[in-house]
Each structure stands twice: as structure tokens, then as C-alpha cells.
């Protein structure tokens, strides 16, 4: 953390700037320094300008009048156009950085995250579970697929400059690539009730070999994919969803992230939110050519179970490929 040291007089530092520990952070910081310079420039312009005029044109006598100046079209145009150009530049740069933040890379390691009043639950791709701590390897792209069990929360790691709301009833994603080993604050930034300020945690960024040691030391449950496979059998999903399409239901192999035609017209992308909806409320979006046979699983499978089933479905037909499924910015945040 960069801080301003107060010499001798006081026994403390005033922190001014947060730690920067992800590949995304410098992009946000560049934008910050640019807008800060812009803000400082215009603030000084107004402060100095106004003070100068204020002193220079102080009323000299009780009867003095202001000069009858009523305006200048040239000036009006100038101080409309120049700010317009500046803000459009700002918009474009901001949008560029935003898209980097919102577009989850395809090759990111996928962790599951669940927010609930008032804790963060995480599950590693290998199956390790954590509460209010998250261990990740340095230099690797990490994506979190997140949902909430109750109210809206928000996942915020200041050192990574990433933040994303976490909602009940849908998935959102956030990604980062940590650049510095260390431990960093994790905050909930959407007000969520009594212990909102205790819904905090720590992200531990570790060297890859330390991370391997950490993984080896933990108690390993099943990975999300394996747990999903168990659920898939337990609920007998495979009676209708086989390796090939059949009359009762479409095959689920290799469908994740693909576009599909819907009964009644239109298409949709079969992203995490679509899969979730199709498990819990199958009749809401029917694949073209199929009857509404599937029962609803709303209230029967836990939030975590749904996430595991989706992990399994995404895994189907991808055994040979090293990359995880594609999740573009739109699919991560779609409805």
C-alpha cells in the first residue's frame, strides 16, 4: 500500500492508494490517474479562476455596476464541445476496460461461490471447500461462478479492482488473475442486513507449488463435476437425457454455451442461467420439438446441487478438450 508518511509529528501513516495485485488492476488504475488528473485540472481551473475574478472585480464603490456583458456564442460552443469530446473519450476508455472486466476468459479455472447472510462459501474445481477464505494460485486466470442463497451480495476484492453483484436465483461471474502472492481483503459491498460488515474474508494468493501443497493438505470432497454426476444418476436424469437425442428429451452432451431453437420461436444460448432455469422450471423455455414432460425440480435440489449438475453438464462432451466452457460477457450477466 502506498501511503503518505507524516514526518515525526504523528505516529501514523495516511494510506492513499491501495495495493495492486491483479492483471486487471493496472488498467483500472490508469483510468483512475487519468480521470484524477482531469478532475484536478478542472477543479483548479474553476477554483483559481473564480478566486482571481472574485478578488479582481471586488466592488469599489457603492454605486458601481457590472459591465453589461450578456454572453458569447463562441464561448458557449467551446465549453460545450470541449467537455463533450473529453467525456466521449472517457466513455470509450471506460467501456474498453469494463469489457475486459466483464468478458471472462475461456481458459479460466472455475470456482463456485455462494453468498449467504453472512458468509462466503467457495468450492475449488478439485472439490475443496472454504468459508470466508479463498486460496488461489498466482498467475492463473480464475473465474468465480456465483449465486446467493438469500439476498443480494457483492463480491469485492479491492486489490484486484474487481467487483460483481451476487444475486439469488441466477449466476453471475467475476474473473481475475492475481499477480502477487499475499493475502487480500474480500468485502461484501451490497448491503445485506445486520452483519453486512462482517461478511468479509481473505483471498490468499499462493505460488503454484504452495497452492498444490495446500490442495494436498486439505480434506477433499468430490469435485463439482463428480458430485454433479452423482446427482445426475440419483435423480435419474439419464432416463430422458442420453448421449443421443431421443423422443423424451434432448441430449446434454456438448450443449453448454451453444445456441438452441426454442419451441414457439426464437433462440437462446444455453448458458449457466438457462441450464439453471431448465432444471428448476423446465417449462419456461422448451427446446423446439419436445413436449413439456420434465417435472420441476424447484425446491428439491439445493442451490449447490444445481451448481454441481451444471458443472457436470458443462463437462459432458468436453473430456477431450483442455478448455473449460465459454462464457462471454453477455452470458455471464444475461437474464
Amino acid at each position: 500500500m502506498i501511503s503518505f508518511e507524516i514526518p515525526k509529528l504523528f505516529d501514523f501513516d495516511v494510506p492513499l492508494f491501495p495495493e495492486s495485485a491483479s492483471t486487471f488492476a493496472p488498467q483500472v488504475d490508469a483510468l483512475y490517474f487519468f480521470t484524477l488528473a482531469l478532475t484536478a485540472f478542472f477543479t483548479l481551473l474553476i477554483f483559481v479562476g473564480v478566486l482571481f475574478l472574485f478578488i479582481k472585480y471586488r466592488r469599489k464603490s457603492e454605486d458601481e455596476m457590472g459591465e453589461p456583458i450578456h454572453g458569447s456564442l463562441v464561448l458557449e460552443i467551446a465549453w460545450s464541445i470541449i467537455p463533450f469530446i473529453i467525456v466521449m473519450f472517457l466513455f470509450a476508455w471506460g467501456a474498453h476496460v469494463f469489457l475486459v472486466g466483464m468478458r471472462t476468459p475461456e481458459d479460466a479455472r472455475e470456482y463456485l461461490a455462494t453468498g449467504k447472510q453472512w458468509m462466503w462459501k467457495f468450492q475449488h474445481p478439485e472439490g475443496h471447500r472454504e468459508i470466508n477464505t479463498l486460496h488461489v494460485p498466482v498467475g492463473e486466470k480464475i473465474k468465480l461462478t456465483m449465486t446467493s442463497e438469500d439476498v443480494i451480495h457483492s463480491f469485492f476484492v479491492p486489490a484486484f479492482r474487481v467487483k460483481q453483484d451476487v444475486l439469488p436465483g441466477r449466476y453471475t461471474q467475476v474473473w481475475f488473475e492475481a499477480t502477487k502472492p499475499g493475502s487480500y481483503h474480500l468485502f461484501c459491498t451490497e448491503y445485506c442486513g445486520a452483519e453486512h460488515s462482517q461478511m468479509i474474508g481473505t483471498v490468499y494468493v499462493m505460488e503454484p507449488d504452495e497452492y498444490e501443497d495446500w490442495l494436498a493438505g486439505g480434506i477433499v470432497g468430490s469435485s463439482p463435476v463428480a458430485a454433479g454426476a452423482d446427482l445426475f444418476r440419483q435423480y435419474a436424469c439419464n432416463t430422458c437425457h442420453e448421449n443421443e437425442d431421443n423422443l423424451r428429451g434432448p441430449s446434454l452432451v456438448g450443449i453448454a454455451g451453444q445456441e438452441v431453437r426454442l419451441e414457439g420461436g426464437g433462440t437462446t444460448v444455453r448458458d449457466e442461467n438457462y441450464l439453471r432455469e431448465s432444471i428448476l422450471r423446465p417449462s419456461s423455455k422448451m427446446v423446439e420439438g419436445y413436449l413439456n414432460l420434465m417435472p420441476t425440480y424447484q425446491g428439491q435440489i439445493t442451490e449447490e446441487g444445481v451448481a454441481h449438475l451444471i458443472a457436470y453438464i458443462k463437462h459432458l462432451g468436453q473430456e477431450d478438450e483442455s478448455s473449460e466452457t465459454v462464457a462471454s460477457a453477455e452470458t455471464a450477466t444475461g437474464h
Partner: protein, 565 residues
């Protein structure tokens, strides 16, 4: 009677006398106040009520700052702290800031400025105050019996399903209070359209009127949406309708859209009237027409209209689509242009002016500085990539306080000081009023500037406890809040003092231009002795209709200004 009420003149002409008949002594007794339809008395009713809520909201602010002196949450239970910041915001926003300038100065001045006897619907005007009182009483009742812990934003499904506090009561309180806003807005729109004196064309209107016209549009078009939204929250809580809770098949983000559709424009309800006041003050104390009158007038309308299309910038990270984010960021950037135009025009008005160092002018200068910082940091938040990091941190808290306190309240207090002689007939000027402006400016910056830094460091909003490294900045902020509180208390003393001991003001103590300064202070029940006829341009200093001897005095540079183009 006006023959005895002469303009005060420093070079020995007679001191002005207090008028014998005026709106304050036109009738007597509590009933004459509670059943009044006089726009000027309704201003006083509002002035007293909102001052009460400002003080109460201020006490809550003090409690917040006191808790945050230490990193541990040791002064309040978390539940209590959540109620404290929620009540601070609800009282300040709905029961102080939104009615502040329109319901007081707007009510008092709009008929005077356009040369009318009253507003178009005087009874509706009184009804608006009663709506305010009923809404405020319900909210106070909820406050006394246990409070609300949802934040003023009432985000679902926390507010609908999870909060066990008086959400429905407060929602109904705000719903009812919404009607006071709508009544005021309708009244102003019709008054400005229909009741202007002969000759008072649109481009002869003071800019105060233009900004209130824009504000009224937002009040009338926006307020019903927040009313409906809060009603839906009430229905979901009472009857389990699934509008917003996904567990009931609803959409929590829908609430955010509906809420901010009103609540973002509501920020402009707070700041636009302030901008109107600033235009009046700067014109009066530079003795000059506002530079670029039409651009300032139309920029108010521009802000009001574009302001309706930017609500989604509160939802960049809410899971709204990336495309929506891009569009809302673009539109947010556009609002910066009319806002910048205003600031540049006000600054340019100072050029070659005859600047009088008065308390209202100091407040106006404070407004210019603080609004500039508030606006530019708003631009930072509207920048998509940057908002990812800053959203819901103290950076946002600092930004909107620069607009709503640094901007709106500086304008409000500037306006109260400027029009105090007109409203009460007494002067309150000198050392202490200057001191209040200075204390507020210094205290404000010390309170909120550290919060920008805190925000970028990552300190989240609405946190009861926080990591140790943020403490220094929080202590600075609390120290500032102490100075700020002193600054806010000062006017309470000297303004009340002036009611009895202040010098008699006379019609036009500031020698300002405008119809409101041609009548007595305080004005008579019907404002003007005869229907004024307007044959002068806005901010024309020493125009011919000033019938006192002074207007005829040869004064350097006193030629009537040519009409605006």
C-alpha cells in the same frame, strides 16, 4: 403604505421602516397558519418542518461519524447502526432535501418573481404541506417504534423478505409524502405557464424560475414511479406477491430499475433548484446579467430530460446486460455537458462584475467549488471500467455528498440568507453569517474529501466495522463533521436573533434586480399593490420601474443593459 418603506441608502437617506401591513400580520392565531392558503405562509410552514428534519437527520449523521471513529463496531449493535444510517438518509432525502428549496423559497418566490398574487392552486399548495406532515409523521412513528434497516434504497429481496423492521410503514410514509412533491410540481408548472404578469415573457423569467420549471417536470413525472415501486414492496411484504423475490418468481433487479428511475432524477430535484438560487445570487452580487442566460436556462431543461435516462448507471454491476451498461454510461457522460455549461457561465459572470462580498455570495462560491468536485467525481463513477472498483465504496458516499450537501445545501443556505430580508423584513448579515459559510466550507471538505481516498482504498459503504488501516481517514472525516455541525448550527442562532433585533431591511436591501425586490419586505398579503407590468429584461439593474429617487441618480455604468440576444 409603500411610501414609508424606502430603499435603504448608505449616504444618509432615511432608514427604511418596517411595513405596517404584511402577510405575517394579515391574520392571527394558530388556525390562521394551519388553514392558510398564502404561498408565503406555506413557505414558513415548510421552513419550520424541514428545519426540524434537517436537525434530526444531522443528529443521525453525527451518530454515524461517532461510530466510525474506531474500526471496531463498539458504539452500536450492528442492527442499530443499520437503522441509524437508514434513518439518516430517509430523513435527509425525502423530508429535507427534496422539499428544501422548492417548498420554501420556491413557494415564496415563484409568485413574487413572476408578478402573481399566489400560486395557481393555493389549496392544493396547503394540501401538499399536509401530505408532507402525514408522511413525515408516519415515518417518525416507525422511527420511534423501531426504525428501518434496509438503507434508503430498499433493495429487494432484503426489504421484501428478510428485513424484520417497519419497512411497510416507512414505505407508506414516503408514498404519502410523494403527493406533496407532486402537488408542488403541478402547482409550479401551472403557475409558471398561466400566471405570469403582463410582459413577463419566457426569456424574461429569472433563472430561478427556469430551474424550478425543470424541477417540477421531474417531480410530476418521476414521483409516481417511486410511489408505485414502494407500494409493490408493501404488497410483496404484506401479501407475498412475487414481484421482486426470486424465491417467489420475481426479479430483484427489476426493483433496482424502478427505484433508480425516480431516485436518480431525484438528485436533480435536489440540485436544480440550488442552481436556480446560485444564478440569482451571482447576478445580484455582480450586478450583472448571468452570462449566457439562455444556455443556463436550457441546460436546466437538458439536465432534467437527460437525467431521466441515466438511472442504469447505478446498476453496472447488478447483472444488467453489458449493452445496457454501455448505453447508460454514454448517457451519463452527456449530462456532464449541460452541467459544465452552467459552471462556466456562472464563473464567466464574475468577469467585469461589481462583486459584493456578502454571505450569500460566499455560499455561492462554495457551491461552485463543491459542485465542480462533485460533478467531476460523478464523471469518474460514470466511467464504466472505473466504476467496477468504486461502486458501493466510500468514493460514492463522498461524491453524492459533494452534490447533495456541498451543492444542494450550500445553495439552500445561500438562498435562505439572500431572501431572509424579503421573507422576514429583517437583515442578518455581518461576521457570524460569513463565519457560517466559512465553517461549512472547511468542515464539509474535511468531512468528505478523506472519503474519496477511503473509497479508492476499498472501504465499502454501510459498514459498521472496518479494517484498522482505514482509521486515520475516518478520524479526519469525523473531525470535519464536528466543524460542519458547528457551521450548520450558527445560522439557527443568528437568523432567529435577527427576527427581533435585525435591522429593518427595506424593499431591496441588496439592490438586486427582479420583481420580488420591488414590493415590501415582508410583502403584503397579495404581494403587489397593483398588477406589475414587466418591461425589462432579467437581471437589468436599476431598471426604470424602480420609482425611488435612487434610480434616477446618475451612476457610472448604470445605463439599463441592452436586452439579451
Amino acid at each position: 403604505m409603500s411610501t414609508t418603506n424606502q430603499i435603504q441608502n448608505p449616504d444618509g437617506s432615511p432608514e427604511p421602516e418596517f411595513p405596517k401591513e404584511h402577510y405575517l400580520n394579515a391574520s392571527h392565531g394558530l388556525k390562521s397558519w394551519l388553514l392558510t392558503t398564502d404561498h408565503k405562509r406555506i413557505c414558513i410552514l415548510y421552513l419550520v418542518s424541514i428545519s426540524f428534519f434537517f436537525a434530526l437527520g444531522g443528529i443521525y449523521a453525527g451518530l454515524i461519524r461517532l461510530e466510525l471513529v474506531t474500526p471496531a463496531g463498539d458504539l452500536f449493535q450492528p442492527d442499530t447502526y443499520n437503522r441509524v444510517f437508514t434513518m439518516h438518509a430517509i430523513l435527509m432525502i425525502f423530508f429535507f432535501l427534496i422539499p428544501s428549496i422548492p417548498a420554501t423559497l420556491g413557494n415564496f418566490l415563484i409568485p413574487l418573481m413572476i408578478g402573481a398574487k399566489d400560486v395557481a392552486f393555493p389549496k392544493l399548495n396547503l394540501a401538499s404541506w399536509y401530505m408532507y406532515v402525514i408522511g413525515a409523521s408516519l415515518t417518525l412513528f416507525a422511527l420511534v417504534t423501531g426504525g428501518v434497516d434496509t438503507g434508503w434504497t430498499f433493495y429487494t429481496p432484503f426489504s421484501t423478505t428478510y428485513s424484520n423492521t417497519f419497512v411497510t410503514t416507512v414505505a407508506i410514509g414516503i408514498f404519502i409524502n410523494g403527493f406533496s412533491s407532486i402537488f408542488t410540481g403541478v402547482n409550479f408548472l401551472v403557475t409558471i405557464h398561466r400566471m405570469r404578469a403582463p410582459g413577463m415573457t419566457w426569456f424574461r423569467l429569472p433563472l430561478f424560475i427556469w430551474s424550478h420549471y425543470a424541477t417540477s417536470l421531474i417531480m410530476v413525472l418521476g414521483t409516481p414511479v417511486i410511489a408505485i415501486t414502494l407500494l409493490l414492496v408493501g404488497f410483496e411484504r404484506m401479501f407475498g406477491f412475487g414481484f421482486f423475490d426470486p424465491a417467489l418468481g420475481g426479479d430483484p433487479v427489476l426493483f433496482q430499475h424502478l427505484f433508480w428511475f425516480y431516485s436518480h432524477p431525484a438528485v436533480y430535484i435536489m440540485i436544480l433548484p440550488s442552481m436556480g438560487v446560485i444564478s440569482e445570487i451571482i447576478a445580484a452580487f455582480t450586478r450583472k446579467a448571468i452570462f449566457g442566460y439562455k444556455f443556463v436556462a436550457f441546460s436546466s431543461m437538458g439536465i432534467a430530460i437527460i437525467g431521466f435516462l441515466v438511472w442504469g448507471h447505478h446498476l453496472f454491476l447488478s447483472s444488467q446486460s453489458v449493452w445496457a451498461g454501455l448505453i447508460f454510461s454514454f448517457l451519463t457522460m452527456l449530462v456532464a455537458v449541460p452541467s459544465a455549461v452552467k459552471v462556466f457561465n456562472w464563473s464567466a459572470t464574475l468577469y467585469k462584475g461589481s462583486i459584493d462580498y456578502t454571505t450569500p455570495m460566499f455560499y455561492a462560491l462554495g457551491f461552485l467549488g463543491l459542485f465542480t468536485i462533485g460533478g467531476l467525481t460523478g464523471l469518474m463513477l460514470g466511467t464504466l471500467g472505473l466504476d467496477i472498483h468504486m461502486h458501493d465504496t466510500y468514493f460514492v458516499v463522498a461524491h453524492f455528498h459533494y452534490i447533495m450537501v456541498g451543492g444542494a445545501i450550500m445553495g439552500y443556505l445561500g438562498g435562505v440568507h439572500f431572501y431572509w430580508p424579503k421573507i422576514t423584513g429583517r437583515l442578518a448579515r455581518g461576521f457570524w453569517p460569513h463565519m457560517s459559510a466559512l465553517l461549512i466550507f472547511v468542515g464539509f471538505n474535511l468531512t468528505f474529501f478523506p472519503q474519496f481516498i477511503l473509497g479508492y482504498l476499498g472501504m465499502p459503504r454501510r459498514y459498521h466495522a472496518y479494517p484498522d488501516e482505514f482509521q486515520v481517514l475516518h478520524v479526519l472525516s469525523t473531525a470535519g463533521a464536528t466543524v460542519l455541525a458547528l457551521g450548520y448550527m450558527l445560522p439557527g442562532f443568528y437568523l432567529l436573533w435577527s427576527l427581533k433585533y435585525g435591522k429593518v431591511a427595506g424593499n431591496n436591501p441588496w439592490k438586486a434586480a427582479g420583481l420580488e425586490w420591488t414590493t415590501t419586505s415582508p410583502p403584503s398579503l397579495h404581494n403587489f399593490e397593483s398588477m406589475p407590468v414587466v418591461d425589462f429584461e432579467p437581471y437589468e439593474f436599476y431598471p426604470p420601474q424602480y420609482d425611488s429617487a435612487e434610480a434616477a441618480e446618475p451612476v457610472t455604468g448604470a445605463e439599463p443593459a441592452p436586452s439579451t440576444t
